[in-house]
Symmetry: D2
Subunit: 126 residues, 4 copies
């Protein structure tokens, strides 16, 4: 009998794990909501602010920082001789800090080896 | 022989029709790119600006005006006792002016009978 | 006096122009709803069907044909040594036929000079 | 000196926490990619399959099950006397199983008290 109880307990998520799950949701939301947005050097600042404020609405999000990589954007527009392109991971750096039930989670998305990598950096307070 | 040529000509889009097609593309883009964005009274202003500047990047777009309907938003948040909701057509009024090859098209999205209706209002210069 | 009336009349959209506006909405919707979807050779068929059936729900849409360009997809995956990528215009060919108030509009999206170009091809019945 | 090392260690994510972060990313992606898709009873089956296959492309995803809630959809369409609506959380039940470095995570999204709730259910193998 107690075996079954213990087996169940052993799979119950900890507070820190739940906090990390919440942090992942915010990253997935941010990326798939805004990827594809028409983007130029002129509109970069307004999309940064809008993404930050939109995602900060979500539960447990204490701080969101979005930086459009102007150098990468400028290089792409120069090569394509275009005035705008679509927002995608290679133009974005994102930091999200989330607090969930006393546990603070720091996460970050940046380019690594040519891919936008979402990474869990620190879990504090567990 | 000439019949075939004439038949082809008769189906070739006019400049004004092409302009109206372009205007429709902008409306569909705007709606399906940004619908679903987490939205609160605090973040309403930044998403308005970001949508305007993003869509103005697109070819032929001369002016985009986006207004989040604060009254409708406030009413929904009060009823749901929530701090944010998702951006959807009932919180949006949009005007887009587009110029294509000398033809100016005015379009508008607003609620009508409970549905967000996208409407072609004026075609000038044809 | 009559001048003013005539000026107003002169800017009222024709049925064919309204049909072209509707066709544009469908293209913008399709592109910005589904761009960014994780895509592999294995999932290409199911996303084609889902896009077709989703857009055919929209008013006036009589036929939507979506073809994922397997060759372009395979080439990209081989170069990146990845198993999936994101759906974007260079992997898509789309044809939409729309009927609006007796007017039939044929439209198409395909790559041209390295860009996905949405084009109004024929307007019949005006 | 060792204090600093220990402090760093204490905040380093565990494998299970990283697995939960990955699971959250998938849920956020799924929701914000497909919310807003035109949806009817006829197109429900194809969007279920397309979402499952698209998200299963993502790293570490072993199983994705998507069920459109036909009853809720039918009720909404009947009330609105419309033939389609937009895909949103209240029409979706989703289960995602993810395996990350020997750790298996079970997650689920379903309606609770009128809200679509994403929940971490079990963490196995830690």
């Amino acid at each position: 009998m107690t075996d079954e109880t213990e087996a169940t307990d052993a799979t119950t998520p900890t507070t820190a794990e739940a906090a990390c799950f919440e942090a992942g949701i915010k990253f997935g939301s941010l990326y798939h909501q805004f990827a594809g947005t028409p983007l130029s050097l002129e509109s970069a600042a307004s999309i940064e602010t809008a993404i930050e404020e939109a995602i900060e609405n979500q539960p447990h999000c204490t701080d969101v920082t979005v930086t459009v990589q102007r150098d990468a954007l400028e290089a792409e527009l120069a090569e394509a001789t275009a005035e705008y392109t679509e927002l995608t991971g290679r133009f974005l750096e994102v930091e999200i800090v989330l607090e969930y039930d006393g546990c603070e989670v720091h996460t970050r998305m940046a380019m690594e080896d040519g891919y936008p990598l979402m990474r869990l950096e620190e879990v504090r307070g567990r």
